[in-house]
Every structure is written in C-alpha cells, then in structure tokens.
Amino acid sequence: MELNAKIPSGPIEQRWTKHRFEMKLVSPANKRKYTVIVIGTGLAGASAAATMAELGYNVRVYTYNDSARRAHSIAAQGGINAAKNYQNDGDSVYRLFYDTVKGGDFRSRESNVYRLAELSVNIIDQCVAQGVPFAREYSGLLDNRSFGGAQVSRTFYARGQTGQQLLLGCYQALQKEVAGGNAKVFTRHELLDVVVVDGVARGVVLRDMVSGRIFSDAADAVVLATGGYSNVFFLSTNAKGCNVTATWRAHRRGAGFANPCFTQIHPTCIPPSGEYQSKLTLMSESLRNDGRIWVPKRAGDTRAPGDIPEDERDYYLERLYPAFGNLSPRDISSRRAKEMVDRGHGVGPLRNGVYLDFKDAIARLGREKIRERYGNLFAMYEKITGEDPYEVPMRIYPAPHYTMGGLWVDYNLQTTIPGLFAAGEANFSDHGANRLGASALMQGLADGYFILPLTIGDWLARVKPGANTTDHPAFRDAEREAKARVDALLAVGGKTSVDTFHMRLGRIMWDKCGMSRNAAGLKEALDQVRQLREEFWRDVRVLGSGDTLNQSLEKAGRVADFLEFAELMCYDALARDESCGAHYREEHTTEDGEAKRNDEKFAFVSVWEFRGVGEEPILHKEPLTFEYVPLSTRSYK
C-alpha cells in the first residue's frame, strides 16, 4: 500500500493556495459529463453534493435515512469554531491551527489542520449567507462563545442546535440542486459494497431498503461521507442507524483504514437505566461549570445522596486536579469516572454513574440563576430520568461520542483507492488522537464545501467521463456477493436477535477497547470478538424477507460489519503501544496516572491494510512531522 499524502511544499500558509493552482481543472462545459456518487447526507456529504452539483457535475446521493435532513450531524449541539477573531481576543488562523494540532495530541497532519483553520472563516460566511440563524448580539453582529476550554471565544452557535441549523443549510442547498436537476437524492438506500476494478473505484452496490432491490451504480468518482463508528460500542451518543459498513466495505476493497483506535468518549452523558438501554444521551459539558462531581467514599454505599454527609463524599476531580477540578479535560474526567465506577463507587440504581451535584451552586447563585443557565438541560434530564436535578444530584457517565479514526486520505481527501474519496467523520484527517469541541462541524463543512469539490476535479480531469458503467462484470460479481450475504443472513435461522449480538459486542469493546486499554485486555477482546462473530453467523435470527422493508436485516448487515471492524480497532489499539489523546494505554502513564505519549516511536498515522476476515491486517505508517507546532506535553495539574 503506497501512502502518498500529496502534501504541497512551501510555507504552510501558502500550501492550499498553491495546491489549488497546481490541481487540474475540468472545463465548465465538460463538468456535466462527469458523475459523482455521494454516500451520506450529513454535513460533509450534503455540502459536497450541493457544491459539486452547483459546479455542474451530475451528482447522485444515497442515504439510509428517509430524508437528507436527518443525518446525525443534526444532533451536534455546541457550535462551530472559526478563526474570525470577531471578539478581538487574539484569535487567528494560526492559533486555531495550533490549538487543533495540540488538541489532537500531535497525531494529525499539520498541513491539513492549517487548511482547516484557514477555511473555517469561509464556512461561517457561507452558512450565514444560506440563512443559518446563528446567535447574534444586540448590534446585529454574530455572537461567539468560548467552548471546550479554548482561551478565545471563537465558537459560533445557534442555541443548542448548531448542528441542526448547519445541516439544514446544506440540506436546503442540496434540495435546490435536486430541483435544478443536477443532483438526485435517493433516500432509504444503503451501501452494501464498493466496486473496484483495476485498483480504481468505479461505483457502488446499494440496497433499496423499501423494495429490497440490490443494484449497482457506476460513476467517475465515489465519495463516502458516512460518519463514524461509535456504534461499535452499541451504546453511544450516535444515532441508531450510524454504522461502519461503507468505510469497512471500502477497506475490504483495498482502502487503508487509519487510526481506528482513536475514539472520543464524552464525559457527561446520562447513564444507562437498564439492560434495555438503546442509546445514550449527551448532556452539554457546560454543566461542569457549576456542577461538582463526586462519589461516595465508601465503595458499595447505597444511601441516597442526601444522606451521605459531606466528609464521606469524594470530590475526586477537585482532589486530583486542584487547578482544573471539575473542568478537567474530557478524556481525564471520563477515565476517572470509569475508574470510580469500576472500583465500586458508582451511584444510581445500577451503580453505573457519578454524581454531578448542583447543590452548592444553587445555594451560592440561587435556583433562578441556575434555571436561567441550565433550565433546558435540567428539563431534558428530568424528562429522561424522572429525577429533578434541582433536588437530587444528576447522575452522569461517559459515553462514546466521536471517532477520529477513519479511512486514510491524502491531502485531496482521496483514499488509497483512486477515485474513492472520504469526507467528514468518515476520514481520519484532521483531529489526530483527540478532537476539540466544536471542531467536528467545522471539518465536515470544510471538506464538503471547500475541499472536496475542488480536489475531486483534479481526479476527474484525469479520467474519461462516463467510462465506468455497471455493465462491467465486476458489478455483477459485487451484486452477487451482496445478495449472497443478505441471503446468508436470512438463512442462518438461529435463535438470537441481532441486537443481542450488538450489545454483546459493545460490552466487549467498551470493557477492553474503550476509554482505557491494556495489551492483555485487547488480546482477549480479539479472541472474544472472533468467537462472537462465529456465533453470530451460527445463531443469528433474522426474520422476514429480503424484498421488503426489513429493519432486522439492515441491522444484521451492519452488526456483521461491526463484528469484523471491531477486530481492526483492537489491533490498532494494541499496536499503538503508547498513550495519546483519547487513546489511553494503561501501560503508558506518567507518575500522576496521565497519558504518556511516545513521539519517538509513534509519531505516525497507523494505516491498516485488509487481508481477509479473521486475518491479521498489515500495518503501514505515515510518518508525521511537526515543523510549526513544537511537540510538547499537556498538563492539567
């Protein structure tokens, strides 16, 4: 596997400009002769599809959702970063670049991150022009807030629904292109395979989820904007439908998968309330500004929180990190919470959470002030748990939230398969080993609006338009394989439901490849995942038929892919024998129990090559160099 990142040379500030000049162009008259397939309609997919259609390409878009407006980008709450420096507080493109590289714990590409920071300002312009109702000041100018511990206020937001508003902007732009005829959107369609001939992506195999029809579509380029894989843990903050199938199928066809073990865990989610729990709900991190996190000092203490006297409580974050206390970074707070629960200090009926207590804040600021700040969140918490957080402390627990890993892409967002591109959370590109708050939306839109529509032209200009058709026998073969797989799932006729397998997989991954990992556990996980996969193919029960809407069948296909993918995650976590960012290996800690990076041996991107199900994949390395942001260690003591 050749890893040519195609990073332009020269000063970092000029690389993107220089690259844009060096790329080949498709003449305006020829654009309509080219067809691009886009899978996924989140921020990256919808913005890329809309922009490419607007440029004149023929775009066909597929989404598993019933409308392009529903992709999970819609659930992002906090905001989107941009180096506008509207607050005159010292922000700049360079500072956003610097913060992002550092936040990613030096496991991302400097050039990509710089370009992201550079484009961040255009994103805001674009979105405002589209009618995204960002929060404004009384002056009528845009408001900002500081987010995720940043020292500058550079986050643009639309109440607690920034992701929704940005996605609706892209969705509307895409619908305009649909009306204009340049784009076609096929809803309730899911990708089953990527078709590669002579090492080049030629199209995809899809399933119409309503009719069950399996068919192919060919194009001059294929874009995967299919999001992340947090649902490998079963319980995560992702939507139920989020899956790894597209990126995994591409990987199986030859696309390198980068850094799959980099998964971000969000510290403030509502803990599961029972075995039936189907997903986890995120509570804004801002709650940690006023809430105090604690657990009972005595393990197994079952008293009600109000009955536990002050001196029998352990405010562990305040104790361990006096400087940052309850505002310690996401990974640290998450890990500490897990540690407390694992040691038997967990609270709540299932002893699976820690308290986030507002009693002191209410006493200090008054109930009204707290209601003003967190009223919505408190109401949401009460709706879900039935407990009133003004009276009883909230219970929180970390949950998988975002995956930094994804398909390896070069500077053009092209995967190791020519003609196959990956955008947004589906690629590995910009966040390194950890993502800063309010940066995911920025990356999705930078990829979709400003990078991909240009870089894809460089590829298209090199190929003959319309050369790929579904007449090629490779399409027949891929369709046949996909059909055989669907039939196989229906034919197992076992006893156990798909969800049961998914939950068991999630349990293994959460315990052994979750927010803290060790070599022994990862090896166990590899065995357990393999066993579970075999059991799945022996004992899964998928009822109904393949030629109607069949949600069990859809789930079964996705879980089957997760069961293969999970192994890769464990291999990657095992191979990365260091701690960095969200990847915490228990073997590599400082004396204070913090993550200990090993830049000498691990300053690279792990890129995995598929060799077969159950076979150990091959690790390739893309070395990372840091010319602009000097390698340093973070400290929150």
């Binding site: 019933d66 407006r69 529903r70 659930a75 022009a129 009618g131 009528g140 109440r159 879900i384």
Partner: protein, 255 residues
C-alpha cells in the same frame, strides 16, 4: 408496567393493514417508548414473529425520524417531546396503548408504522432555500441582522420535519411545516431576494402534494415537539397574499 398494546401492522404500501393486539408485561417505567417497542420486538423475534417496523434514528429528539400516533396524540401525551424521548412513566396508568402511523394521503404507509414523508422534501425543493453559490458569500458580519429577527428566525428554524403537524391537523395540512421554513428564511435579510417567489412556490408545492389546507385549528402547534407557533402561518399567509396580489406576475398552477 403492564398494558395492552394495539399496534398498526401493514406488510407493505398496498397491503391492507390491521391492528395487532399484544399483551405487554414487565416494562420498566424508565424505558423510553421506543425502547419499549424494542423490547416488544425482541419478544416477537423470540416467538418467531416479524418485529414491528417503526422509524427512528437519533433517539434524542432532533433528527425528526420517529413519528408515532400514541393514544391519539402525535409523539404521545407529554407535549414538546418526540416519541423517542417519551418515557413509559409518562404513560403510567394507561391500560391500553394505541400506536398508529401518521395518517395523510401525502404520507403513504410503507410498512407498519413507517410512512413516506418525502413530500416534505419536495416542499423544500420548491424554494425552501437561499440560493448562494459556495464561495460567493459576503463576509459574515457585513450584513447585520437584528437580534429579534435572528431569534424569531431561529424559533421557526428549529422545525425537525417530523410531520407531527400533519398528523395532528384535522385537515392533514402541512402548513406549519411550510410556514416555519418560509418564515425562517423570510425573516432574514439574506432571504429577501427570493422571499415572494419562495412563498408562492412552496405553497403551490404544498397543495400539489395532497396536503389539506389550514383552517387555523391550532392542533399543529399543540402537537409540535418543538412548539413552533401558528403565528408563522399568519406570516406565510401575509406573504402569500402580498406576493400573489402585488408581486411580479406569477403564474400559479391550479391545485
């Protein structure tokens, strides 16, 4: 909790549907409504019966995918809540629970509780956007927007497109959905150039899709999980009448 569940089963778009009655036991009140359905499905699968198809995705009340008529109320009795965020404790004491799909000609049933809401997409295609070529946008702060306008636009823009307004409306009208988008864009300076074309085309598309008309019952507002106000419908009406009577000649095709 223990109750009788009456749920609409329909094997396909053309198939006749019927209510299936299930006796449901051992339900925790902490489950969400959809988790209850998950569990019912697990039990059906164990018995070798096909599970109930229902739409859902984010399960945090924002994607707008889920939509169930629960005991005669879209998204259930809690108010300002989507079905995925409704918890069983809010149905405490209910001996019988009726679950039906959204009912509207424009929302044909695909299977069981799953309906096709693509008509809403087509209303957006008719003009629910601001045309701005990527890259051509002016500097974001070059056009100030009054805070009150931005806030009102946001009040309309929070629509999740779930279709509860249509489901609740005695006339099967999607006017609240249409009005929310017309108002969101019409309140902003960026939305002015296309404002009147937009309202004319979107209302035309709305009627063409086979939705009913708005007779101001207000049921949509009461059913809306985001609490969008019918004031936006008045806004749409004003814009439409103004557009039809004073805006440049515009041929509106017959309904």
């Amino acid at each position: 909790m223990e109750f009788t569940l009456h749920v609409w089963r329909q094997s396909g778009p053309a198939a006749p549907g019927r209510f299936e009655t299930l006796s449901v036991k051992d339900i925790s009140e902490h489950m969400s409504f959809l988790e209850m359905l998950d569990l019912v499905n697990e039990r059906l699968i164990a018995e070798g019966k096909e599970p109930i198809a229902f739409d859902h995705d984010c399960r945090e009340g924002i994607c707008g995918t889920c939509g169930l008529m629960i005991n005669g109320v879209p998204h259930g009795p809690l108010g300002l809540t989507t079905a995925c965020q409704l918890h069983m404790r809010h149905l405490k004491g209910a001996k019988e629970i009726w679950v039906e799909p959204w009912r509207a000609r424009a929302f044909p049933v695909i299977k069981d509780l799953v309906v096709d809401r693509s008509a809403l997409d087509r209303i957006i295609q008719a003009g629910g956007y601001i045309s701005v070529r990527t890259g051509s946008a002016p500097e974001a702060n070059s056009i100030p927007v009054k805070k009150i306008d931005a806030d009102m636009a946001m009040d309309a823009a929070i629509c999740i497109g779930c279709g509860a307004c249509v489901a609740a409306c005695p006339n099967g009208s999607a006017m609240l959905f249409t009005a929310a988008k017309v108002s969101h864009l019409g309140l902003l300076p960026q939305g002015q150039p296309e404002r009147f074309d937009r309202v004319l085309s979107m209302v035309e598309a709305h009627d063409r899709e086979g939705f009913g008309n708005c007779t101001n019952h207000g049921a949509c507002q009461n059913a809306c999980p985001k609490g969008i106000s019918v004031d936006f419908i008045a806004r749409l009406n004003r814009d439409l009448v103004k557009a039809a009577l004073t805006y440049k000649p515009y041929e509106i095709t017959a309904v």
